[in-house]
Symmetry: C3
């Protein structure tokens, strides 16, 4: 069981980042439950229990709205991301819910080819295992650096 859960999470994480990096943002909300929690914050804020994140959404509607804004603003055209994830640590499994933590590195590629580390951090996730696969009931994206660009264009 535990090994199967580890796999399920390892694989869905790979699909999640592929969805973003392939610019299929309209499919991105479907990795979440509805309602859900999606939050981007910094390690410093997270450690001190500060609620205010950089990004917050609690439903498919809000996630989709975010994608629509990106499409309209055309900001997304200026760059792409490449997410590289480590293997997840499974922290807890209860009744079809799985708490896991996964380290990430996001590289940003600007249209002129300039390539930089955009962010590093960890996903603090609560997955619910549904028939169609695991869905994110909660994803808190904790960025290591406090110097995260407030104009966060693409999802992490």
């Amino acid at each position: 069981m535990t090994q199967d859960i580890f796999h399920l999470i390892l694989r869905v994480q790979a699909d999640y980042v592929r969805c973003i990096d392939d610019d299929r943002l309209e499919s991105w909300p479907y990795y979440f439950d509805d309602p859900c929690t999606y939050k981007i914050t910094t390690a410093a804020n997270y450690r001190e229990g500060l609620e205010a994140g950089i990004v917050f959404a609690n439903s498919h509607g809000m996630l989709s709205d975010r994608v629509s804004s990106l499409r309209e603003a055309n900001i997304y055209e200026h760059h792409t991301y490449r997410h590289i994830l480590g293997a997840p640590s499974i922290l807890e499994e209860i009744d079809g819910a799985v708490r896991s933590e996964t380290p990430f590195l996001v590289v940003r590629i600007m249209r002129d080819g300039q390539t930089d580390i955009f962010a590093t951090g960890r996903y603090l996730d609560l997955y619910r295992v549904r028939e169609g696969g695991p869905k994110l009931a909660e994803r808190i994206v904790v960025c290591d650096s406090s110097r995260i660009n407030t104009l966060l264009a693409l999802p992490i």
Copy 2:
């Protein structure tokens, strides 16, 4: 079955990059079928269906020739790579053939110690599961940036 295939691919990818990063380039062609397709291209060219890649080979012979040229040119002595891969997404399995996609990050380490991101992108692979393990019938290396050094010394 699916889980076994996922493993097989996950593990052979790790061996593939280890072979390159350990400078055992002469063994590199054996990760491929013969004939095969190995191509390095950019995301922009790939999206527009432009055939011209940066590197192209369709047999063990051509892959080996490439390695010989590198050895003769001694370019490879000036730097090493470190590949970091994400987990593969398995896209299709038919009759012992597996289509998968895997994100990569290649860091280049110059002889003086200077360390930079050399390339990011994804492997679009067609593996055939042979007795001795999976072999690459096709690997298209799609680099995110268009600013890929045309003097691509080492394989990606």
Copy 3:
């Protein structure tokens, strides 16, 4: 068996780096056997069989001493790491001992948010499978670059 071993190693590596990146350094020695070998060296020194590493420890006591020094020096407060690992290559399994190699990338995040590649390389590991999970009998951290900061604050 082999697949189970691969998993065991994949998962314990994820836990190991999470322990460091979460700043739970006091738990770090428990990933090792006692006695053990922990060494950080460079690819150039390793290739030439030079024994002198940058860091060396051969017991829980020495590993713990290292952590205490870091805590006292307060150097650790100035930055954090984010380790991103590739999947391990399992090289050998004999009588509950596993030799594996795993590529790593360590990103360093300074307190002001500055984020850089700190080191890349590979772990050359000898794990012993104990009741409570695999323990490192030996970890040789081979850094690709010779320009590794001699004031290595945190474990790799």
